[in-house]
Subunit: 404 residues, 2 copies
Amino acid sequence: MSAYHPLTEQEAIEIARTVEGIFPEGAALQSREIGDGNLNLVFHITDPASGKSLIMKQAVPYAKVVGESWPLTLDRARIESEALILQNELAPGLVPTVYKYDADLALTIMEDLSDHIIMRHGLIKGESYPKFAEDITTFMAKTLFFTSDLGKNQQDKKLLVKNYVNPDLCKITEDLVFDDPYTVTDNNNYEAAIEDAAAALREDGELHLEVALLRAKFLTSAQALLHGDLHTGSVFVTKDSTKVIDPEFAYYGPIGFDVGAVIANLVLNYAGQGHWIQDPSELAKFRGYLIESVRDIWTKFDLKFRALWDEHGVDRLFNSAAGYKDLYMKSLLQDAIGFAGCKVVRRIVGLSHVADIDRIPDAADRERAQRLALEIGTSLIKFNRKADSIEEAIDIVWSAAAKQ
Amino acid sequence: MSAYHPLTEQEAIEIARTVEGIFPEGAALQSREIGDGNLNLVFHITDPASGKSLIMKQAVPYAKVVGESWPLTLDRARIESEALILQNELAPGLVPTVYKYDADLALTIMEDLSDHIIMRHGLIKGESYPKFAEDITTFMAKTLFFTSDLGKNQQDKKLLVKNYVNPDLCKITEDLVFDDPYTVTDNNNYEAAIEDAAAALREDGELHLEVALLRAKFLTSAQALLHGDLHTGSVFVTKDSTKVIDPEFAYYGPIGFDVGAVIANLVLNYAGQGHWIQDPSELAKFRGYLIESVRDIWTKFDLKFRALWDEHGVDRLFNSAAGYKDLYMKSLLQDAIGFAGCKVVRRIVGLSHVADIDRIPDAADRERAQRLALEIGTSLIKFNRKADSIEEAIDIVWSAAAKQ
């Protein structure tokens, strides 16, 4: 790692030239650092003359959000790069193509997706994405099934588990999602207006038990290679394209965590939409679209995962034991609902928030959205082990919204 | 690995001389190859003059039981050696001391325990071991707790998971314990007399569902660093000493698998004792001792594990969430009962049997023992998820025996 240093824009341009087959010889390249995340430098390298471009993502050895005091291994760049390559094999076209990975620089050079927008930003504007549910469930079903003991040689799977051991990034999730919101810590971040609701999280024993059970699954259940951070800020979309980015949190974990992350971020947007769309009938329509998406996420995922299992299942007993598949899918649904709840709650009171709610300018609107999200999140968590269908989770969303 | 070759006894002696602090200079060492397992050479090196001795265990690159056709990585020697060293730190005195590990030769040089006997052989003779339940539960509670997310730094734990990825040895268990007994395969090995009972295993859908669920836990649940093969042939005993050997199957798996292995092998002896002890009152007494041991294994393990958790728990939420500890321990009990059942069944119809039953010379006695073991094993498997106390498992053993 001795060659490692954070790149300057000029260095980024020089390295970009070495990627074969992208830019014409001698192109006048431009660089713009566009990283708005917390963990990386992101250089957007363009050649205005040819219209060609690429993205260079370089890990930095600390979390920017808390200064240099939170060190993070550069190994996450290897994990991200290898995960992207594997995901592109398993779910072609649904992640950016990796052109090159430089281990010394912790640098991944990949396809530019600037014709897409971050899905979260689109949703905030009230845009709907008709292909999203279809694409994201294809992505999840394929990447999760084919890295699990159901769809992959079980000895090779163990080598993947080893390859994707990811302590630093898992620690972030373990703290921010599965601990901080339920205790007093400087990591938490919420407005004084919801102090009572935040305090309630810390005093709710029923909630703590369910979060503990979900935390244990996150820590021990090596079901499949997760994306690990599958929120709507990790998805680039157009009306007819979906690209999943940023798998630096990838590790072997419980499948429901990825599915739940998608659902959670639709729910967070749902909670925020009370402000972004003011017209009641437009609001009802867009919220209807979000709910329909939640339903589709589960039902399409369930259908596709089962179809892959039917066609490509590698395990004699898992394939043949009557009732096993139904039990397995039900357990994924329950996990997804529980993890969705945890991911909603942490975005309201934890360290890192979402624009869907945080950027609501009106304080009363924002508070209403925060309280709605907390109500939905905690209800999903408490309900998770009882769930039998996605409709029950949707009812939780409806009825929490109806109470406001 | 280029230096690797199976050692001759003369080579073993020369290497033994290089271990510091054991043998006097120029001692006339003797070697005897005593490996009766399937996977290793074991040299017993002695110096009759000083009475000093040691054990050299060398992995061979194939499973002897099926000739050279079943290749096995020599990496298991590293895993065994490192597991022994770690177990000795966590549960001092309950495993042999490792003097030296030679990676090139896949060779572990360790404390000689020839003043102990293999517990299985002692039990067959009707010997009882008053310290066993105490020692083995100390061993399990300490090694399992302190390698789990409850008792170990959770980021360091992930590095241990990585270090103990053990595909070849896990594959043996996955096949022999969690698949073969429930299907037709050349690996299976049972007598014609119990063909009906073996066929019943293959046709029992309720059983298959439970075995599938247990198999999934074995494949995905990285709770703690298991011994992985904790039967009574892996335990050296005297009346007042217990030493656990042979952790080459060590990997991160479900805690109940180790606990269940101990229980299973007491149950197997219980089933066989109908022959070994013929006097009805002696038989009842020894079976009573075995049942008492099963009860002690769980209750002492439960007590010690909880005590370690109370004193050394590292996880804020796991420590504080009301009801979590009870749910966790109940789930370990259920797993232990289910895994115990699987381990009993495989020793009757699968590839590898136990002397407690196989060496019964009388065919009718042997068949009775085999049928009793299968009845207990399948009942434990079917009951596992309903279990609430070890007494229920004991009732299953009693009532199966009473029916014979």
